[in-house]
């Protein structure tokens, strides 16, 4: 009976770990998506910055805020875009770090799961012999 209880315990553990792993994987996937979005935004912002640089002084620049187009100063728009680019690059760095962290966690979880599976297998084998 003791061995079967231990087996059950292990199986529960395995289940928990599997759940954790799937959660981690979901997180990673989400992170990837966010990262992709940010990279696209970064590219777009860089394009905007380039175009704003090519505009001559006194050109009318508008910013779409919600449903309204708001007239903006060229210099202001430039500064805003620059800020946005900085923000996005910082965010990308942060996301990279978290992604790495998550992947490490995932790997460790996978290893733990493998160990638990092995233990279960060995227990089952012992049981079969007995």
């Amino acid at each position: 009976m003791g061995s079967s209880a231990a087996l059950r315990e292990l199986q529960r553990e395995l289940e928990n770990k599997a759940n954790d792993l799937s959660k981690l994987q979901k997180d990673i996937a989400k992170n990837h998506q966010v990262r992709k979005k940010y990279t696209i935004q970064l590219g777009e912002n860089e394009l905007v910055l380039k175009e704003l640089g090519l505009l001559n002084e006194g050109a009318n620049v508008y910013k779409l805020i919600g449903p309204v187009l708001v007239n903006q100063d060229l210099a202001e728009a430039n500064a805003n875009v620059r800020k946005r680019i900085d923000y996005i690059s910082a965010e990308l760095k942060r996301l990279d770090a978290t992604l790495q962290d998550l992947e490490e966690k995932q790997n460790s979880k996978k290893e733990a799961i493998l160990k638990v599976q092995q233990r279960i297998q060995s227990l089952q084998a012992a049981k079969a012999k007995a």
Binding site: Q41, E44, N45, L47, V48, K50, E51, L52, L55, A59, N60, V61, Y62, K63, L64, I65, L69, Q72, A77, V81, R84
Partner: protein, 385 residues
């Protein structure tokens, strides 16, 4: 009234510009005018078309109302990220072109990436298929063989390859490898020779000095002899480069020969080395006295930059030296005492260096290589042909 008539003539305008012609011209101008008018109309139509490009403006999702564009050269361009700018049509076109370029570059980079990945997949596919077929990779450790063993070994191959016409590709490859090995070995040996030669020269110096001390009377002559000899050495040194490969071959052939033969060989070689050296030295000695022609030939040889050309010449030289050898002793006795001594000194040196050779070929073999080429080359050549 005659005078004014004398001053000018009266011609009717109609005679100069006929009425019909003038009328034709008027008509032509009118025609072109009409043409231009038509063109103008067409352009105006274009403009109107452009202005009324949108003649139904959407009003909500379901309705339209009639309308037309008035400011057709005013664009509000979306730059991205919610930023818009007022632009003219030309500027807009430029913006769009730039955007297209950026997108094109992105497409290119993506294509390159795809190509890389495809290459990778194909590589893995081939490796997988090869693994499935059970291909084996063979790797052999490269062991640096003992130089003598290598030479004797390679000797057989080398000996066979010229005689056996059916020597396969394998052998050719073998030879190539061997050639590389030999060349590397030769480079080593050459370095050793250079080092040893410097020593030898210093040795010669001392010897010559000794002879000079013996015969203080004719210092100058001795020096001249020494100079000639050093010249000769340099000549030998030059010779070694082209002959390197062949000389190594001859060494190998030597290895094959039994020991007594070896001894004989070396004796002979010594002789020959002596011959060549004596010949040259004697010539050097004689230069001042007798054989001007020979010395000239010698000089020509030394000057000749073509080493390949020099090879046969030296052989001839050696032969000539051997032929003239019998005369030499008699002749050498004639010239000055000091020159004789210096010359003998040079002879002594060669045997000294040759003798250690059979024991250790890889050992610092400096002079043997210098003295050998004159003979071994010829031998090798004979074998080859």
């Amino acid at each position: 009234m005659e005078e004014p008539t004398a001053k000018g003539t009266l011609t009717s305008l109609s005679s100069m510009f006929p009425v019909e012609d003038a009328q034709k011209a008027v008509k032509r101008v009118q025609d072109t005018l009409a043409e231009k008018q038509q063109e103008l109309e067409r352009v105006k139509e274009f403009i109107a078309d452009n202005a009324t490009l949108i003649n139904h403006v959407p009003f909500g999702k379901a309705a339209f109302f009639p309308g037309r564009l008035i400011h057709t050269n005013e664009f509000l361009v979306l730059l991205g990220e919610g930023y818009y700018a007022d632009r003219t049509s030309k500027q807009t076109v430029e913006i769009l072109k730039r955007r297209g370029k950026v997108l094109d570059s992105q497409v290119d980079s993506l294509k390159a990436m795809m190509k890389d990945l495809q290459a990778e997949t194909s590589f893995f596919y081939t490796t997988a298929s090869e693994a499935a077929e059970g291909l084996l990779e063979i790797r052999e450790e490269y062991v640096e063989e003992n130089s003598s063993a290598k030479k004797s070994e390679s000797d057989s191959v080398k000996e066979d390859s010229p005689s056996l016409s059916e020597a396969g590709n394998l052998k050719a490859e073998d030879e190539d490898e061997e050639y590389a090995r030999i060349m590397s070995r030769l480079d080593e040996l050459e370095k050793e020779e250079l080092a040893a030669e410097i020593e030898n020269r210093s040795g010669e110096n001392t010897q010559n000095n000794a002879s000079e001390s013996d015969n203080k009377d004719d210092d100058e002559q001795a020096k001249s002899v020494f100079d000639q000899f050093s010249d000769q050495i340099s000549l030998h040194h030059n010779l070694r480069h082209p002959e390197g490969f062949e000389s190594s071959n001859t060494q190998r052939t030597k290895k094959k020969v039994t020991f007594e033969e070896l001894a004989n060989n070396y004796n002979r070689q010594q002789d020959l080395g002596d011959q060549s050296c004596t010949g040259l030295a004697v010539q050097a000695v004689f230069q001042d006295e007798k054989s001007q022609g020979k010395s000239l030939a010698n000089n020509a040889k030394a000057d000749a930059a073509e080493k390949a050309l020099r090879l046969p010449e030296v052989k001839e030289d050696a032969e000539a030296a051997s032929s003239s050898r019998k005369e030499i002793p008699a002749q050498t006795s004639k010239p000055g005492f000091d020159s004789d001594k210096a010359f003998t000194g040079s002879i002594i040196e060669h045997p000294h260096n040759i003798q250690p050779n059979p024991q250790g070929q890889s050992g610092s073999s400096s002079k043997p290589f210098i003295s050998q080429p004159s003979k071994p080359v010829s031998r090798f050549k004979m074998q080859r042909k």
